[in-house]
């Protein structure tokens, strides 16, 4: 069972503001989902004991070289325009420090 404090902490890590009512509801719902996925604990196989052995997944990230993907600046205006708060070629955010 997942505790109320854990839900509050997860919400904060997830950058979500939850109401008191939602905290209670998520506590129940996440509890039942986690109870379902817990069946995974029984999964093992003879030639690959997944309980202890770290696996190297066959899915791998595929990266490109970080060099000149396209002509500089050709998408800038379009992408800046998608930001809800922008000013010329800048995206506006509140000060951080």
């Amino acid at each position: 069972m997942i505790s109320k404090e854990e839900i509050v902490k997860l919400a904060s890590l997830s950058r979500l503001k939850l109401s008191e009512e939602e905290i209670v509801r998520f506590q129940g719902e996440m509890g039942s989902i986690l109870a379902y996925v817990d069946k995974l604990k029984t999964a093992t196989s003879d030639n690959n004991d997944t309980k202890n052995e770290p696996v190297s997944p066959s899915n791998k990230n595929v990266m490109r070289e970080d060099v000149n993907p396209h002509e500089s600046g050709i998408y800038t205006d379009k992408l800046i325009k998608a930001a809800p708060r922008h000013d010329n070629r800048y995206i506006k955010v509140k000060k951080i420090l």
Partner: protein, 476 residues
């Protein structure tokens, strides 16, 4: 003919193939075909609610597409509906989420680029579960899509809008995306064909990401032939999606079909679905195929693996929606509160649930027990399938455990909704192609609710799915 009269076209039996012949033969123009669909949408979509937006330039697009109509160009002038998570430059795209309110796509998805080049006419963008999270479109921020076969029931999801539009005769073909069954399950519910291609065979560039190691774009069509036409147009390596691959077209000669009987014994499967499935197996036998019982030892863990990996990837992908870069912005006291308020207001309940779940399984202390364990079992599933495909050419299962359910029926219990994906998620985890084929229906009262079954083949063997599907549906 008067300008405002609608040409009578038999839309019910129309396919991409037959529309193409008619357009070439001059039976009607692209404009007349599109007018016929727009008129159907006007009549019926108020009730079905497949579309979030019907574009206002359809007839202009139609006139342009008319110029491309030729015997070499199968898709010129074909009207299509596009799921709201696929970008078309200059048009609204929102994944049916409030958090993307006002967002205009700044570029074309690779699939859209290819379809545009072929001369496809885009009729509109279709409803879906928010960020493709759900099996019913009930998680849309803009209201549920109804099943054209029974307005009291869901169309399935998450690509429910595209499926209902095709199944309800409101468009000739649609695009969806499939992360755990989101093309196949609504196809099954709406009585049409839905293809989930091999992972990477169709570029994800311009598709809003949910589970990046699982997501793939797929067509929703009335026939297998139409699905094949669209797949062939859209497939291929793309420099903008590093996971995309080229799939060679092979010649199919499959003979042995596997059925994982041990996985079909649960009491959660509707008896009408099982009866229909047995009839489909009989039909394949009568077509000369050998049916073999197969073991997929870890398949019972598929759904648990999926509901760990998918939320983990989804919570990561959805972190980009913060009120700064796109769409909605809610004003708070400081930057952190901007994030909190924008995301709390912008994301619906299921999106928030999956973000929380993903954050949980990725958090320190739980990472090994959940994420690592799920990744390990995913590898076991891959070897299960690799072993199975050494002895059989394709695997058959039902697509969904039951027919379309009533609107509201599963909304209170997320696990019951997740169980909708029990037969479909494995193909996404393993990366193999799968197709849902319509195979009869279940009568409930005066309504006939469609039932589908699923064919799964090994990586890059869409040709086997097409060959089997066409034979099953007697398509020449």
């Amino acid at each position: 003919m008067k300008k405002d009269s609608i040409k009578t076209i038999d839309l019910k039996n129309l396919t991409i193939k037959s529309a193409h012949s008619a357009l070439i033969g001059g039976d009607y123009t692209v404009r007349e075909l599109c007018e016929a669909y727009l008129s159907e949408i006007k009549k019926k979509d108020g009730d079905i609610h497949a579309y979030l937006e019907v574009y206002d330039d359809v007839l202009k697009q139609a006139d342009e597409a008319q110029k491309k109509v030729s015997s070499k160009n199968m898709l010129a002038g074909i009207p299509m509906a596009i799921k709201d998570n696929i970008l078309i430059e200059g048009r609204r795209a929102g994944s049916a989420s409030k958090i993307l309110e006002g967002y205009i796509a700044p570029y074309d998805a690779t699939v859209i680029k290819k379809l545009k080049k072929a001369g496809v006419v885009f009729i509109g963008r279709t409803n879906m579960d928010e960020f493709a999270m759900g099996s019913s479109t009930e998680n849309s921020a803009y209201g549920v899509t109804k099943n054209p076969h029974d307005m009291g029931r869901v169309a399935g999801g998450s690509s429910g809008g595209s499926a209902a539009a095709v199944g309800g005769g409101l468009v000739l073909a649609g695009l969806g995306s499939d992360t755990g069954g989101s093309v196949r399950q609504p196809a099954s519910y709406c009585g049409i064909v839905g293809l989930k291609p091999t992972y990477g065979s169709i570029s994800r560039h311009g598709l809003m990401a949910m589970g990046s190691s699982l997501d793939v774009i797929g067509p929703l069509t009335k026939t297998v032939t139409d699905a094949e036409i669209l797949f062939n147009c859209m497939k291929g390596k793309d420099r903008y999606d590093s996971t995309s691959i080229d799939v060679d077209i092979k010649d199919s000669s499959s003979k042995i079909l596997g059925v994982p009987r041990h996985f079909l014994k649960g009491d959660g499967i509707d008896s009408a679905v099982m009866k229909s499935f047995e009839r489909s197996i009989e039909k394949f036998k009568s077509l000369g195929y050998q049916i073999r019982d197969i073991e997929l030892p870890n398949i019972e863990y598929s759904l648990a693996v999926y509901y760990i990996l998918m939320p983990a990837e989804a919570s990561t992908n959805l972190s980009r929606f913060d009120g700064v870069k796109y769409g909605l912005h809610r004003e708070g006291k400081n930057l952190l509160e901007d994030y909190l308020l924008t995301r709390a207001f912008g994301f619906g309940r299921e999106a928030r649930r999956r973000i929380m779940l993903g954050t949980y399984v990725l958090s320190s202390g739980y990472y090994d027990a959940y994420y690592n364990k799920a990744t390990a079992v995913r590898e076991l599933l891959k070897s299960d399938f690799a072993r199975a495909f050494q002895t059989v050419d394709a695997i058959l299962t039902p697509t969904a455990p039951a027919v379309a359910f009533k609107i509201g029926e599963k909304m209170a219990d997320p696990v019951s909704m997740y169980l909708e994906d029990i037969f479909t998620v494995t193909a996404n985890l393993v990366g193999v192609p799968a197709i849902s084929i319509p195979a009869g229906s279940k009568d409930i009262g005066s309504k006939q609710l469609p039932i589908g079954f699923q064919i799964i083949a090994s990586h890059g063997r869409e040709d086997i799915l097409f060959a089997l599907g066409k034979q099953f549906l007697n398509e020449s």
